[in-house]
């Protein structure tokens, strides 16, 4: 009997090739037509330290990395020590036979001489490929796809390296043939997905930006956002766009604002520390009503924090991180598909509202590889800013009913104006009178009033009208975990529904209120210490949610959410 939803976990030292081994399995599964969802943890250091790759493969849509694992592969004893408590009955345990673990009752053990076989080949670095071969044989991961992918991956390093890796793979594959297989842990021959692409959250943000017509990208290297820059450095020039690495994050957001004033669509991506540095220029973008998009791939904070770990703790900084009265549009993505489509939204909304837009992603999504449908470019709307028609006398900050004043790109005759951080009149001239400051402040805030109803509604998981005992609210990648928890709770007969806002700010207050109508209790699950979304909900709505927070550098599992809901009943 084959299993449609299978979770692999591979762990070892950063230098042992854990990530490439996992990447290859994920790609082979996707090539076989399965949906995949990966989760990776890296050491913050370049060499050494614990690394883990979790790969969930399934025939249905996958929303999260799952609970625990079905198959665990330890490349060394430390990886075993870290994970041994998760070796539950019925799991399979594949390990390098240089150590002797205590295999718990009910766990199938598959000791493989990974180190020894790779040494015999004279190629110690191929230890992970021995493991890969063994995993392929033991759990029916398509060997033909793995070998094709392996050749692609190592081709640039020369024939010798390719040969050695293939040989290591075969050795592992051959050795594993000596074991009796676990029939309940075999991947089916093929899944049903056809027209899909497979990419990480960071790559998807880059792709979304290309689709939205990005002209200009500037960024400074920072974990875990740098892959967005890597992707756009490669692909943006193909579209005639400009990608530049700036001297720091202040410069990158400044360049974005300069390019945007020039009439171009411009974006940067960073993480928490970079967002902090950008806050002053984001205030300028707000004051001067210049479109600008900042992607914040959140990591553990504050300060340097946990640079490679998962956390959703920049929400308040994204919403409130500016001096003076200023407001930004804040969006948050749940999964890789969102990374594509909501990056388009972010660039569109920046143009529409002439506003800074912050798109929140997070570390686990940044590196999570997922299969998603090929985007239908014809179905995606790309928005341009409102531009001056050339009629009448141009005033950059002219009052209008929607409070959105037409922009004029430099080069436009008769529309010369100033973008300024000083308070200004409708024509841009500096003015500090009380009436003017009141009026212009109101203009800048009022133009966003239409947004909560204009932008897509927060998704309700469940029938909006039904009464339930618990309503769970989540944002960002936690949504995917809550989806699965809710599905499981329903099977148990528990009355529960979910609310998944993607527009975080300005808040869709009416949707929160409507959702709460039929809920006995509201639970807000998020990965930060303070309960940041819960805080905003209390401040902006009449809801009194129970906050469920986790702050350990890892995402929730569906089990954790389901258990917390059961406790509340």
């Amino acid at each position: 009997m084959s299993k449609h939803d299978l979770i692999f976990r591979i762990a070892g030292d950063g230098g042992e090739g854990v990530i490439s081994c996992g990447d290859l399995i994920a790609a082979a599964c996707a090539r076989s037509g399965f949906g995949i969802f990966t989760f990776k943890t890296f050491p913050a250091e370049v060499r050494g330290g614990y690394a883990m790759y979790q790969m969930r493969s399934g025939s249905e849509a996958l929303h999260n990395q799952g609970d625990g694992f079905d198959i665990f592969c330890a490349l060394n004893s430390e990886a075993y020590e870290i994970n041994k408590t998760n070796l539950l009955p019925d799991t399979a345990f594949v390990y390098d036979d240089t150590f002797s673990p205590d295999v718990p009752e009910g766990v199938s053990a598959f000791p493989i001489p990974m180190t020894q076989l790779s040494r015999q080949l004279g190629f110690k670095k191929a230890k992970n490929m021995v493991a890969l071969g063994a995993l392929s044989r033991l759990f029916n991961v398509a060997a033909n796809h793995l070998k094709e992918l392996l050749v692609d991956r190592f081709e640039s390093k020369g024939e010798k390296v390719v040969e050695a890796n293939l040989e290591a793979f075969d050795q592992g594959y051959g050795y594993a043939a000596t074991f009796e297989l676990r029939q309940d842990l075999q991947l089916p021959a093929a899944g049903k997905a056809t027209d899909v692409i497979m990419l990480s959250g960071n790559e998807a943000i880059g792709l979304g930006a290309l689709i939205a017509g990005l002209d200009f990208y500037s960024a400074y290297p920072i974990t875990p956002a740098t892959e967005v820059a890597k992707y756009l450095a490669l692909h943006l020039p193909k579209r005639g766009g400009t990608m530049i690495q700036a001297e720091d994050e202040i410069a990158s957001i400044s360049q974005v604002v300069g390019a945007s004033f020039g009439g171009k669509k411009a974006m940067t991506a960073t993480s928490g520390p970079g967002l902090s540095l950008m806050s002053e220029m984001l205030g300028f973008a707000f004051m001067s009503e210049t479109p600008a998009v900042v992607v914040d791939v959140q990591r553990g904070g504050p300060s340097t924090g946990l640079p490679t770990k998962h956390e959703q703790s920049d929400l308040l900084a994204a919403v409130y991180g500016s001096h003076g009265d200023a407001v930004r549009i804040v969006l948050s993505v749940e999964n890789v598909a969102d990374c594509i489509h909501m990056t388009v939204d972010a660039l569109n909304l920046a143009q529409t509202y002439q506003s800074p837009v912050i798109l929140l992603s997070d570390s686990s999504l940044a590196f999570s590889t997922q299969t998603v449908p090929v985007p239908d470019l014809d179905a995606i709307e790309v928005v341009e800013r409102k531009r001056w028609t050339g009629e009448g006398e141009y005033q950059r900050y002219e009052m209008s009913t929607d409070c959105i004043s037409p922009m004029a790109d430099p080069g436009t005759p008769c529309a010369m104006h100033i973008a300024t951080g000083l308070e200004h009149k409708q024509d841009g001239r500096a003015a500090f009178t009380p009436d003017n400051h009141q009026e212009m402040s109101a203009k800048r805030f009022d133009k966003l009033k239409s947004l909560p109803s204009y932008y897509k509604a927060a998704e309700v998981d469940g029938d909006a009208g039904t009464e339930v005992d618990i309503g769970v609210i989540a944002w960002g990648s936690t949504i995917g975990v809550v989806r699965e928890a809710i599905a499981r709770l329903r099977v148990e007969g528990i009355r529960v529904k979910g609310l998944y806002p993607k527009l975080i700010w300005p808040m869709q207050v009416e949707q929160y209120e409507a959702f709460a109508e039929g809920c006995e209790q509201i639970l807000v699950a998020e990965v930060n210490q303070q309960g940041q979304l819960a805080h905003l909900i209390r401040a902006e709505t009449s809801l009194h949610p129970i906050s469920y927070t986790l702050c350990g550098g890892l995402p929730f599992s569906p089990d954790m959410i389901a258990s917390r809901v059961r406790e509340l009943l």
Binding site: P237, S254, A419
Partner: protein
């Protein structure tokens, strides 16, 4: 045919807010003259500034303008210039804006050879905040925040900009309108990062470095100076000792950042019409 633009045609109609006797008036009038000499279309000119007295310049110019954040005119202008290489980009600012809070950006404007003209009005003091010492203030200067005199050496902007890789470096006394206009005109015509340092007195807060003082320390660069030689430009500054050289110190033509970017796009086979589906297909498993 359109009437030729005269210097006054570049006035915005907003009168400058500077104190009487401020050196920045000379700089402003030189900018008007340089723009007229080149007949630059105001609609294709963008004046970017940061914060400070001299950073108010954009209000007084007829052009597209950005009055941004303290210290950030350089990177804002870089983004604008890269996005719109068809425009003429003029940055104006002061010593605190450019070399204190914005000092981290200066090396990159130079080394990247961003195609813009940077006119820095150096009055050796913070004027807008009423007289604190700046990174170019003389060490013994007493100021608002150095009542006992300063304890730090002034920096040497010209040497820095030469070292950073600016491809046009010149200095003038702001009161010498002819020389300023000439150097700014040449700087605007120059392809690459043109840095023009103007000694511009603050009569209100800097009682040491007055117009008379600046006039007494400047010394014209001899016509025999080889402006194409970086080492000679540096040596000249040292040779002048306590005198400030005025005139063109150095000029070279090397690829600008936007030219390099255009080359990179060409190398990638880039065009607006490039089919995104080709990029999407790369992500098929």
């Amino acid at each position: 045919m359109r009437e030729p633009m005269k210097p006054k045609d570049y006035k915005s109609g907003i009168p400058p807010v500077w104190c009487a006797g401020c050196g920045n008036y000379g700089a402003l009038s030189a900018i008007y003259r340089a723009l007229a000499a080149l007949q630059i279309d105001p609609a294709n000119l963008v004046n970017v500034s940061g914060i400070g007295c001299s950073s108010r310049m954009p209000y007084f110019l007829k052009a597209y303008k950005m009055h941004t954040l303290h210290g950030r005119a350089g990177p804002v202008a870089t983004g604008l210039q890269l996005a719109r290489p068809d425009l003429k980009v003029l940055v104006t600012g002061g010593d605190g804006d450019g070399f204190s809070i914005g000092g981290g950006h200066m090396p990159h404007l130079g080394r990247s050879n961003v195609n813009l003209t940077y006119v820095l009005m150096d009055n050796h003091i913070y004027g807008l905040t009423k007289g604190q010492f700046s990174p170019t203030s003389r060490r013994d200067m007493k100021s608002y925040t150095t009542p006992y005199g300063g304890i730090e050496e002034p920096m040497r902007p010209l040497l820095y900009m030469l070292t950073y890789g600016a491809s046009y470096v010149a200095q003038a006394y702001a009161g010498n309108a002819n020389m300023c206009a000439e150097l700014i005109k040449d700087g605007l015509e120059h392809q690459g990062m043109a840095y023009i340092h103007l000694l511009s007195q603050c009569p209100t807060f800097n009682k040491m470095d007055t117009a008379d003082y600046f006039k007494s320390i400047i010394k014209e660069i001899p016509a025999s100076h080889d402006t194409s030689d970086l080492r000679k430009a540096m040596r000249l500054i040292y040779k002048f000792k306590d005198k400030e050289p005025v005139g063109l110190l150095y000029q070279t033509r090397r690829p600008t950042l936007d030219e390099c970017m255009a080359g990179l796009v060409e190398q990638a086979g880039g065009s607006k019409g490039y089919d995104i589906n080709k990029i999407i297909d790369l992500a098929r498993p």
